[in-house]
Amino acid sequence: MNQDINIKKARTNCFRQSKVPGEFMLQMRVPGGFLDAAYLSVIEHIAKTWGDGNFHFGTRQTFDITGIPYGNIPAVNAYLEQYIREVDEQLCRVDLDTVSQEPQPWDPEGGYPTIGARNITACIGNYHCICANCNTFELARKIEPIIFPSHYHIKINIAGCPNDCNKAHLCDFGIIGVAKMTYHPERCIGCGACVRACEKGSTRVLSLNENTGKIEKDACCCIGCGECVRACPASAWTRQETKFYRVILGGRTGRQTPRTGKMFLNWATEEVVLSALRNWQKFSAWVMDYKPEYLHGGHLIDRAGYKKFKELILEGVALNPECLVAEDIFWQETEYRSNFNVKPMSLHHTAGPQ
């Protein structure tokens, strides 16, 4: 193999370098991980025509097509136009001519304009799941045009309920569908099914008052999973019509400082989540002084400090009355080496205008 390849440029274009010299793996975005099954023939066509015939379910729910020789990239990109237009432009209403909030006309023959904001992953949500509290991929499709295309990295995972199968706790900005419940005592038969469900599968916030035969709830510790609704034989518990979300911030994996995310917002409405995300690029730009680096969102929060993050991300966001916000967040990192953050001043990072 003797080719002059700019692998960083290929990576930004969503083609990942292979250990086999000159081969690449294409990562196709699937916001929310849900698509018409007809696209499987598109995957098959790309893999059989330009790749090695196989594909991998990317860990971020992308369609990953392996073994594409560098020389095939222009042909793959030209073929991708229809997929990108249908999935990102039409389904998600993404503006392909704006990158990192700056005008940059999209080359329809050129494939993905950037890899920056990563594919938004989601569990199947209430489209199918009996536990879920929200439609996860519809939310993903609303978020996609807010964060993509952008060179600023962010990983967003959406889980339909606090069971968090999709690991909102292990990404920059994890969103969990939660429900606020209404109790209808006049329909309650006092069977205690909700109490047992909460005890077995949630946070033990319900109890049966033996004097009244009705349920009492420690509302403060309720995580909004909706197991009580599922357990009730008489519809004495119902989910309120408004959908609420919990946002888990700053989780990550990695070689240096892996950590579980912590609660940033609780009981936020969809509009609050979307408006906070609309500030994401502005926040990232401020931290890196408008010079995007290949750096994930959680690290930007570290550099700026949580309080600065909170100030910038909530700028102009009209919080719904139920919404609670973390005053401070103290993450606990896995210490691969102790005193990881103690190092020469020259290795310290800065945030804000340079």
Binding site: N126, I130, A132, N133, C134, N135, G160, G177, A179, P185, E186, R187, C188, I189, G190, C191, A193, N211, T212, G213, G226, V229, R230, A231, C232, P233, A234, S235, T238, R239, E241
Partner: protein, 353 residues
């Protein structure tokens, strides 16, 4: 007299009726279902034509309008008490034939059983007039034809709903004034003549077979499948079981009220006696009790028909997908097995000298 009402005219008639009646019908409660973004259809007061859900079966039965899940019987203060006030207005209850038959059965339990008439049931039931909703055939959990509840004449009017409005056949003259000036038509209500789902309860008149069926291993299946949640009995058109509870107001035990609240034979503890003993400690025991009650015991006591009216709501609401029809079929298979065993035993006994 028969009328064809547009939606607007139906609204007008319902408005007029509402002056003298509490009009109850199946109503949609958006997003109040067991799973996210699913609805519940249950009985409630309706005010206009568009409130009434007629295309689909209600999740909960019409009985809620007559014997609600919870009801205050009386209030007490020291040595005095006062009965709760019953409904003031008569009730016009929109119900399908299965639900109307269910009231015939509920009346047997509440007011025709053991020589005692339940005051609180009767005072409401006496105020109920039925508007029979012509049933388009229900859904795939319905089996009214098998249970003989597909037809009824027990109503003040019959109504056929469509997106455009409703056709009405008046059977009781007292309702004529509410329809004055409305366009007349020719309408005769139709009844469901066949369901996809059919069931034939086995003959359990032989005491030996009946006793052997109670001990049959078929019921064990439900120990692992049934969660004893009671959804089936709350959704049942005919279940009447309730428990009473005295609720004290604050810390003064002399003041309070007595309520009755629906109870379920499927929920553990239903049959718990002093000393903590339970007669039916397993889900299988409880399922056997319910199924035999609905498909044998009631008929054995009252004669006329089985208790189950085939509305299928227990199947529809069961979160574990247990079908009562399939359970009855399993029961029939078990009966056949028992009978074969009995005849083998008799034949075997015959060769003995």
């Amino acid at each position: 007299m028969e009328y064809a009402l547009s939606a607007a005219q139906a609204d007008e008639v319902l408005r007029a009726l509402s002056r003298d009646f509490t009009v109850c019908a199946p109503k949609r409660f958006p997003k109040a279902g067991r799973y996210s973004d699913t609805d519940i259809v249950r009985y409630d007061r309706v005010e206009k034509f568009s409130d009434i859900v007629w295309e689909t079966k209600s999740d909960y039965p019409a009985k809620e309008a007559v014997s609600p899940i919870q009801q205050t019987l009386f209030y007490f203060t020291e040595d005095e008490f006062r009965e709760s006030k019953g409904p003031k207005k008569p009730i016009l209850l929109f119900a399908r034939p299965c639900d109307i038959h269910a009231q015939r059965i509920q009346a047997k339990i509440y007011a025709g059983n053991g020589g005692f008439e339940d005051f609180y049931y009767t005072r409401v039931r006496n105020l109920v007039k039925f508007a029979m909703m012509e049933c388009g055939g229900g859904d795939d959990t319905c089996f009214c034809v098998s249970m003989g509840t597909n037809r009824t004449e027990d109503c003040s009017m019959a109504v056929k709903f469509s997106a455009e409005g409703m056709q009405v056949q008046l059977k009781e003259e007292a309702f004529l004034p509410y329809f004055q000036g409305m366009p007349e038509t020719s309408y005769t209500p139709a009844f469901v003549e066949e369901n996809v789902l059919k069931v034939e309860p086995p003959d359990l008149s032989d005491e030996g077979v009946y006793q052997a069926l109670k001990k049959h291993p078929m019921w064990k299946e439900f120990d692992s499948r049934c969660t004893s949640c009671g959804s089936c009995t709350v959704a049942c058109s005919t279940c009447t079981c309730f428990t009473t509870r005295d609720v004290l107001y604050g810390d003064n035990a002399e003041v309070g009220e007595r309520r009755r609240v629906a109870a379920s034979c499927q929920v553990a503890g239903f049959d718990q006696m002093a000393g903590q003993r339970e007669l039916r400690p397993t889900p299988g025991d409880r399922m056997r009790y319910k199924v035999l009650h609905k498909f044998h015991d009631y008929k054995a006591r009252f004669g006329e028909s089985h208790m189950c009216v085939g509305c299928g709501r227990c199947i529809h609401r069961c979160p574990e997908f247990i079908s009562i029809v399939e359970t009855v079929r399993k029961m029939s298979a078990a009966v056949q097995e028992i009978q074969e065993e009995q005849s083998r035993a008799q034949a075997g006994a015959g060769v003995q000298p």
